[in-house]
């Protein structure tokens, strides 16, 4: 079951290797009413995808130690229960080829770092109204 419908605070899986950025996103999202589960590298993130129920939202960096964010996104979209989880890419990578790959896998938004708090929160609000897969 998706955590967003469990009656608890919605759960965000944040995949981010830069600790200060993770701390900032955690602060912002906790104020927004989310529980935040932080994975600091790609290997830990893949463990979460394999072992835990789907969260309400994933925020995913691209440039990560061990396994990159695009591989994690591919795994999310190929994993039953997780395939429709909203994903917001949160990255300083503006490379055209990588963005094409991300588009093919469908994400709710692509937020470039550095980000503004209001931009991030607007993206979160939009992710609630768009599905991961086109209907």
């Amino acid at each position: 079951m998706n955590n967003s419908s469990s009656g608890q605070d919605p759960l965000l899986l944040l995949v981010e290797d830069e600790q200060d950025t993770a701390d900032l996103v955690t602060l912002i999202m906790k104020e927004r009413g989310y529980q935040v589960l932080h994975a600091a590298d790609g290997s830990v993130a893949l463990e979460k995808v394999a072992l835990m129920p789907p969260p309400s939202l994933v925020m995913l960096d691209i440039q990560l130690p061990h396994i990159d964010g695009i591989t994690i996104l591919e795994t999310i979209r190929a994993t039953p229960d997780w395939e429709n989880v909203p994903v917001i890419m949160l990255t300083a990578v503006a490379d055209q080829d990588k963005i094409k790959k991300v588009r093919a896998l469908t994400v709710q938004d692509y937020v470039l770092k550095p980000f503004r708090q209001e931009t991030l929160l607007r993206s979160v609000d939009q992710s609630r109204t768009t599905s991961a897969r086109p209907q």
Partner: protein, 135 residues
């Protein structure tokens, strides 16, 4: 397929501007505001205050890390650290950190030691001078 949004407020690499939806890029560089004792003032969201001391301490450590890496001609470490700093700086409200880190990151990609040698001390000096005003 539903297009992804592009909520970033600045694209760091104008040659790969892939914005699909969202506002126009805005200029990031903050105008310099000098305090009475010559310090550079930066206005930061008061809700970020608990995170700022550690954020600034970590950036100073990263300047030292990049200086050591430069001395060893380890441009990949310089690039990686500068990439993370570029993403974190402006997210906290320190746009000049992002601007300077972006220059260092680009120089590291091309092995441009002279630019890094010029800009790392400037970055360190900025971190020593900056004074945060919470609002």
């Amino acid at each position: 397929m539903k297009p992804i949004l592009m909520s970033s407020i600045k694209n760091q690499d104008k040659t790969t501007d892939t914005r699909l939806i969202g506002e126009e890029p805005m200029e990031y560089t903050q105008p310099k505001e000098i305090g009475a004792e010559g310090e550079e003032l930066v206005h930061i969201d008061a809700s970020f205050e608990p995170l700022i001391p550690k954020f600034l301490t970590n950036r100073k450590k990263e300047v030292v890390t990049m200086q050591a890496a430069l001395a060893a001609q380890d441009y990949e470490t310089v690039r990686t650290v500068a990439h993370g700093m570029k993403g974190a700086g402006g997210s906290y409200g320190f746009d000049r950190i992002t601007d300077m880190a972006a220059v260092v990151e680009q120089a590291a990609k091309t092995g441009d030691a002279s630019t890094i040698e010029r800009d790392l001390p400037a970055l360190g000096s900025y971190l020593d001078r900056v004074k945060v005003v919470y609002e």
